[in-house]
C-alpha cells in the first residue's frame, strides 16, 4: 500500500469529519517543519561554498563537472559550462578565465579556438554529488577531532559519576530510616530551585578556587549535582519491597552488597532512563563549558562549534558540516532509544 | 421497553472474524445473558448492539427499527461498564445528570429522575461525593443509577460484577435480579460466570468462537445441552464424557449413532453394578464430597456426592447413573434425543 495513504488512513474506516482535515494539515505541516530544517541542514552541508552562495538554492547538492584541458602545452582542470556561443550554437565548453561579464571559453576537445561568452549565457555542467571536503577539512585543520574527544570524555565520565553518586544517595534516602532524612530530601528539593544559570558567577569562583578552571573536570563536577537523578532513582527504589533487603540481611549480605547486588540491578530500568538523559544533557551542555573553558584545545563540541561559527562567519560549508557531525550522536540515540526516552519522559516528566 | 433483533451480525478485526453471523431475538422485558469463555465474542456482540462499534455486516433492529447506522447516543440504550466508567471529576449527582443534560432535559425533570433513581438504589446520601470517595459496591450502584435515569429502551451490562469481591458479588447479583423484576426492562447481561448466568437469566445465550452454540432457559441448558461444548461449559464440576465402550457397564443403552456419552458428576451414585473406579483424590467440602477417580483404561472421572462420605483414596468404588440423566452426542458432538 502507498505509505502516505497508510499513514493517513483512519482507523475504523469511519466517515470524514472536519477534524480529519485539521489532523492532516497539522501532521503534514509538522512533518515539514520538524524534520525539514534538519534535512535542509544535511543537504546543505554537502554543498560547495559557491553553491551555498547561490540564490535561489537547489535542493540537492551538486558538484560542478570539470575537464582536463591542455592549453599551451599545460594541462589544466577547468570547470565545464553549457554555453550559447555568438553563433547561437549550444556547446559544452571549459572556462579559461573571466573578464568582467565576459568569459573566455574553449572546447576541451579543440582547445585552440577561444569563444567569448557573456556570463549570463552559460550554465555550469553539474551532477548530484557530495562535497566530502566540508567534513574532512575541519576534522583535520580545526581541531574538531579534539573537541569530539573532549565531548565524549565529559559525557561518559559525567554520566558514570551521575549514575553512581545519585544511585547511592537514592538508595540511602529510600531504604533507610534515619534522623535528618527529611532534611536531606528538603535540601535536594531546594537545589531543584537553583538551576545552574542562577549560580553562574559564584560557581565560577568556586571552580577557579579549586583550580578546575580550564579543566574538563570543572565542566563535569558541577553538572553531576542534578537533583533530578536522585529523585527519579529514589522514586523507583521505593517500589522495591523492603522484604527483599531484609531477606538479604538474613543471608548476611553487607549493606554495600545489598546496594550493589540487589537494589542496583532491580533499578536497571530507571538507571537506563537516567543514563540516556544524562548522555543527552552532557552532550548538549553549552553555557557552563563556555564559561569554564577558554583554552581552545579543551573545548567541547558545542563550544567549539559555536566559536567556530563565530569566527568563520562566512565559511558556512564548514559550519554546516560540523553541525551535522555534532548532531549525529544525538540522532543515533534518538533513532535507537526513542521509545525508552518518550516512555521515560511520560513517566517522570524528566527533561 | 424494547425488543431487539440481531440479523446475521458479523464483525471483522483486520483479517480476524470475531463474530460469525449472529441471529438472535430478544423479547421485551427479557433478561438475556451472553455467556462463554473469554474471546468468544460476547463483549464484542454487546458493543455492536450498543453502537460503540459497527458490525461488518448484518442488521440490528430495536423495536423493529433498523438502527445499524444509528449512533450509540440515539439508540436509546444505556450501558453499565465493567470498570463503571464514572466521570472521576464529577459528583455522583452530576454523573447521573450528565446524560440528561446532554439531551437538554428540563432541570426539574432531571432532579426528580435522579431523586427517584437514588432512592431506588439507596445512594441518596452519596449524591454530593465523587467516585473516588466511594467503595466498589457504591460505584457499582452509581453506574447502574446512571443507566436507570436515562429510562432506556434496554440496559446493556458488560460484566458488571466482575470487579467486586465474592461476597459483594452475591448480594449485588440478587439486587440486580430484584431490580430487573421491578423495572421490567429488557436487559442484556454479559458475563463469563455461569452462576451469574444461571441465577439471573430468563434465557442464556452460549457463545463460542463468535457463534451461538445454544439459546435456552437456564434449566433447559443444564438438562438438555445442545452439544458437547455447552454440556461441558455449563455445570460445575464439568460433565464427564465417556466413549460407548467405557460406558458399556452403565445402565441404559445408547441410541444408534452415539459417539459420546455424557454424565454429570452430580448424577453418578454408588451402586452394586456399573463403572468401577479407583479413587485418586477426595475433596471433602462438608456440603458435598468431590471424588476423583480413574476407570479401567485410565480415563479420569469425577463425581460429587451430597454430604460427607468417608471414602478411602486408593479404594475401589462402583458407580452408576439414572439412564434418564445420560446425555448422548453424535460424532459431530451434537445432542441425540
Amino acid at each position: 500500500m502507498n505509505p502516505i495513504r497508510f499513514l493517513f488512513r483512519r482507523k475504523g474506516g469511519k466517515g470524514w469529519h472536519w477534524t480529519d482535515l485539521v489532523t492532516w494539515v497539522w501532521l503534514g505541516t509538522g512533518l515539514l517543519i520538524m524534520f525539514g530544517p534538519a534535512l535542509w541542514l544535511v543537504l546543505s552541508s554537502f554543498k560547495s561554498p559557491t553553491q551555498l552562495a547561490e540564490f535561489p538554492p537547489t535542493i540537492l547538492p551538486y558538484v560542478s563537472q570539470t575537464a582536463e584541458v591542455g592549453i599551451n602545452g599545460e594541462v589544466k582542470e577547468l570547470p565545464l559550462y553549457t554555453a550559447v556561443t555568438e553563433d547561437g550554437q549550444v556547446r559544452t565548453l571549459a572556462e579559461v578565465r573571466r573578464i568582467g561579464t565576459v568569459a573566455q571559453m574553449v572546447d576541451p576537445d579543440a582547445p585552440d579556438t577561444v569563444y567569448k561568452v557573456n556570463i549570463n549565457d552559460r550554465r555550469p555542467v553539474r551532477q548530484v554529488g557530495f562535497e566530502i571536503e566540508n567534513y574532512l577539512k575541519p576534522l583535520q585543520a580545526f581541531n574538531f577531532g579534539l573537541y569530539l574527544r573532549n565531548s565524549v570524555f565529559v559525557t561518559t565520565v559525567a554520566t558514570l559519576i551521575t549514575l553512581l553518586t545519585n544511585s547511592m544517595a537514592a538508595f540511602a534516602l529510600s531504604k533507610y530510616e534515619f534522623r535528618g532524612r527529611n532534611g536531606v530530601m528538603l535540601l535536594i528539593v531546594a537545589t531543584l530551585m537553583i538551576p545552574l544559570s542562577v549560580n553562574l558567577v559564584p560557581l565560577y569562583s568556586v571552580v577557579s578556587k579549586l583550580g578546575l578552571l580550564n579543566s574538563l573536570w570543572g565542566v563535569i563536577l558541577p553538572t553531576v549535582a542534578t537533583p533530578t537523578g536522585v529523585f527519579l532513582l529514589r522514586q523507583y527504589m521505593l517500589t522495591i519491597p523492603d522484604e527483599l533487603i531484609e531477606a538479604a540481611r538474613m543471608d548476611k549480605a553487607s549493606e554495600w552488597q545489598i546496594y550493589w547486588r540487589i537494589v542496583l540491578p532491580l533499578t536497571a530500568p530507571a538507571l537506563a532512563v537516567l543514563a540516556i538523559f544524562s548522555v543527552v544533557w552532557r552532550w548538549n551542555d553549552f553555557l557552563w563549558p563556555l564559561i569554564v573553558l577558554s583554552r581552545k584545545e579543551l573545548f567541547t563540541l558545542q563550544v567549539g562549534l559555536n566559536t567556530f561559527a563565530g569566527e568563520l562567519n562566512v565559511q558556512w560549508h564548514f559550519i554546516l558540516a560540523m553541525t551535522v557531525a555534532t548532531m549525529i550522536p544525538v540522532v543515533v540515540v534518538f533513532v535507537f532509544l526513542q521509545r525508552f526516552i518518550t516512555a521515560g519522559i511520560a513517566g517522570t516528566g524528566l527533561k | 421497553m424494547g425488543r431487539i433483533r440481531l440479523e446475521n451480525i458479523t464483525k471483522n478485526f483486520g483479517g480476524l472474524q470475531v463474530l460469525k453471523g449472529i441471529n438472535l431475538e430478544i423479547e421485551e422485558g427479557e433478561l438475556v445473558v451472553f455467556v462463554g469463555p473469554s474471546g468468544c465474542g460476547k463483549s464484542t456482540l454487546l458493543r455492536q448492539i450498543s453502537g460503540l462499534d459497527k458490525p461488518s455486516s448484518g442488521a440490528i433492529l430495536i423495536n423493529d427499527r433498523d438502527v445499524t447506522e444509528v449512533s450509540a447516543a440515539d439508540r436509546g440504550l444505556a450501558m453499565v461498564f465493567q470498570s463503571y466508567a464514572l466521570y472521576p471529576h464529577m459528583t455522583v449527582k452530576l454523573n447521573l445528570a450528565f446524560g440528561l443534560q446532554n439531551a437538554k432535559m428540563p432541570k426539574a425533570e432531571i432532579e426528580t429522575r435522579i431523586a427517584d433513581a437514588a432512592r431506588m438504589l439507596e445512594i441518596t446520601p452519596l449524591l454530593s461525593r465523587r467516585p473516588g470517595q466511594l467503595s466498589g459496591g457504591q460505584r457499582q450502584r452509581v453506574a447502574i443509577g446512571r443507566a436507570i435515569v436515562r429510562d432506556p429502551t434496554a440496559f446493556l451490562l458488560d460484566e458488571p460484577l466482575s470487579n467486586l469481591d465474592a461476597e459483594l458479588r452475591v448480594s449485588m447479583r440478587a439486587e440486580l435480579g430484584a431490580l430487573h423484576a421491578r423495572l421490567g426492562a429488557t436487559m442484556i447481561y454479559v458475563t463469563h460466570d455461569q452462576v451469574e448466568a444461571m441465577t439471573l437469566a430468563d434465557r442464556i445465550v452460549v457463545l463460542r468462537g463468535g457463534q451461538i452454540e445454544q439459546v435456552a432457559a437456564p434449566i433447559d441448558l443444564f438438562e438438555r445441552p445442545a452439544n458437547r461444548f455447552v454440556a461441558g461449559f455449563i455445570g460445575a464440576p464439568s460433565m464427564n464424557f465417556l466413549t460407548p465402550e467405557e460406558a458399556a457397564s452403565l445402565n441404559g443403552t445408547p441410541p444408534a449413532g452415539a459417539a459420546l456419552i455424557g454424565v454429570r458428576p452430580q448424577h453418578l451414585e454408588p451402586a452394586d453394578s456399573g463403572l468401577t473406579l479407583t479413587v485418586t483424590l477426595v475433596e471433602a467440602l462438608g456440603t458435598e464430597t468431590v471424588i476423583h477417580g480413574e476407570i479401567a483404561g485410565g480415563k479420569r472421572l469425577l463425581l460429587t456426592l451430597p454430604g460427607h462420605r468417608p471414602v478411602q483414596v486408593g479404594g475401589q468404588l462402583t458407580v452408576n447413573a439414572d439412564p434418564a440423566r445420560l446425555h448422548f452426542f453424535d460424532a459431530q458432538d451434537q445432542r441425540i434425543g
Partner: protein, 334 residues
C-alpha cells in the same frame, strides 16, 4: 547466537566493574562493623552531598555575599562591601516600564524582553503542544512515527538548533527562498528587531514543543477510554466531551506543563544566543545572557551586579518551582 555474543560482550564490559565492587566490599564491611548502619548511610550519601555542597550550596552562599560586594576581584575576601548598592543599581528606575529611565537600562531591557518572550513562548508552546497531543491521541495510523516527528528536535543541542535556524533564516536562506517562490516580500529575519524576536520565540517553541506534547499525551492516554464510551452512550457531542471530560481531567497536567515551561522560558539562553547573539541591538537579549555578559563576557565585568541579578531571577524561579512542586503533588494525588 547473537544474544550469546551480546551477553558475552556485556559480561566482558561489566566484569572489571563487578570485580571492583567486590573488592570494595572488604573495606566497606569493616567500616560497617565499625560505624554501624548509620556509618553506611553516611557513606552512601557522602559523594552526592559533597558535590551538592561544593557546587550548589556553597556557590549559593557566595552568591548572596557577592551581591553585596563590589569591585573586580574574583575572590570574596578581596572584595569590598557595598551594601545594597548592586540591587540599587539594578532596581533604580523612574519608570520601571521604560528601560531608558533606569540606571541599568540593559538590565531592564533584558527583563522586559524576557517577560515578553516568556508570555509569548509559553502561550504558543502550550497551544501547539495541546493540539499536537490531542491529534496524537486521536485515531491516527502510525502514532509512534508521528510522535517521533514532533519529539525529534527536543534532543538536539541548543547550538545545533541555533545554527540550523540561523542557516534557514539568513538573508539568502531557505525561508526567504520560499517567500520568493510565492512572490512575497523577503525579510531580514535575524537583523530586524521585531522579526528577530519572533524568530527567537518560534525557534524555541520548535525545539521544545515535542517535550510538552509528550507530557500532555501521557495525560490524555491516562484518561480511560471507557469514559468516552460512557459519554458516547450518554449522547455527548465531541466538543462537549472535550470541554466537560478531557479538559477537566487533563487540567492538572496542563498546569504542570505551563509552570514547567515558564521555569524553562525564564532561563532562556543558549539557542537564542547562538541564533541571534542577543541582537539586533538588544532586541533578543534575555536575563541569562545579561548575567553571563555582566559576569563574564563584557569588558566591564561586574560580578556583584551579575550576582544580584541572578538572585532576582532565582527568586522568581523559586516561586515558580514551589508552584510546580505543589501542582505536581496535587496532580499525583488526584
Amino acid at each position: 547466537m547473537r544474544s550469546d555474543v551480546k551477553t558475552w560482550i556485556g559480561a566482558g564490559v561489566t566484569a572489571p566493574v563487578r570485580l571492583l565492587a567486590q573488592m570494595a566490599d572488604v573495606p566497606l564491611r569493616q567500616w560497617q562493623r565499625l560505624a554501624g548502619r548509620g556509618g553506611m548511610i553516611g557513606f552512601f550519601l557522602l559523594p552526592n552531598m559533597l558535590i551538592f555542597g561544593v557546587f550548589v550550596l556553597v556557590p549559593l552562599g557566595i552568591n548572596f555575599a557577592y551581591s553585596v560586594t563590589g569591585g573586580t576581584a574574583v575572590f570574596l575576601p578581596d572584595r569590598s562591601y557595598v551594601g545594597g548598592a548592586n540591587f540599587d543599581r539594578l532596581l533604580d528606575c523612574t519608570n520601571h516600564f521604560d528601560p531608558n529611565s533606569c540606571r541599568d537600562d540593559v538590565f531592564w531591557i533584558a527583563v522586559w524582553n524576557t517577560v515578553r518572550f516568556v508570555g509569548l513562548q509559553v502561550t504558543a508552546m502550550t497551544i501547539c503542544a495541546m493540539i499536537t497531543a490531542l491529534i496524537l491521541n486521536s485515531k491516527i495510523r502510525a502514532r509512534a512515527f508521528w510522535r517521533a516527528v514532533f519529539f525529534f528536535p527536543v534532543l538536539l543541542s541548543p547550538v545545533v538548533v541555533g545554527l540550523i535556524w540561523r542557516w534557514i533564516l539568513q538573508r539568502q536562506g531557505l525561508l526567504n527562498y520560499l517567500l520568493y517562490q510565492f512572490d512575497a516580500e523577503q525579510v531580514n529575519w535575524l537583523t530586524e528587531r521585531g522579526w528577530a524576536f519572533t524568530a527567537a520565540v518560534g525557534v524555541s517553541v520548535w525545539a521544545h514543543v515535542g517535550f510538552y506534547a509528550l507530557i500532555l499525551l501521557a495525560g490524555l492516554q491516562a484518561i480511560p477510554r471507557d469514559l468516552y464510551e460512557a459519554a458516547e452512550m450518554d449522547g455527548t457531542k465531541p466538543a462537549r466531551a472535550f470541554w466537560r471530560i478531557t479538559l477537566p481531567l487533563l487540567w492538572p497536567n496542563l498546569l504542570v506543563v505551563i509552570v514547567l515551561s515558564l521555569i524553562r522560558a525564564v532561563q532562556v539562553f543558549d539557542e537564542v544566543y547562538v541564533l541571534t547573539g542577543g541582537g539586533p541591538g538588544t532586541s533578543t537579549l534575555y536575563l541569562t545572557q545579561y548575567i553571563y555578559e555582566v559576569g563574564f563576557a563584557s569588558t566591564l565585568r561586574n560580578s556583584g551586579v551579575a550576582s544580584a541579578a541572578s538572585l532576582l531571577m532565582g527568586g522568581v524561579l523559586v516561586v515558580l518551582t514551589l508552584l510546580q512542586l505543589g501542582l505536581t503533588r496535587w496532580r499525583d494525588r488526584k
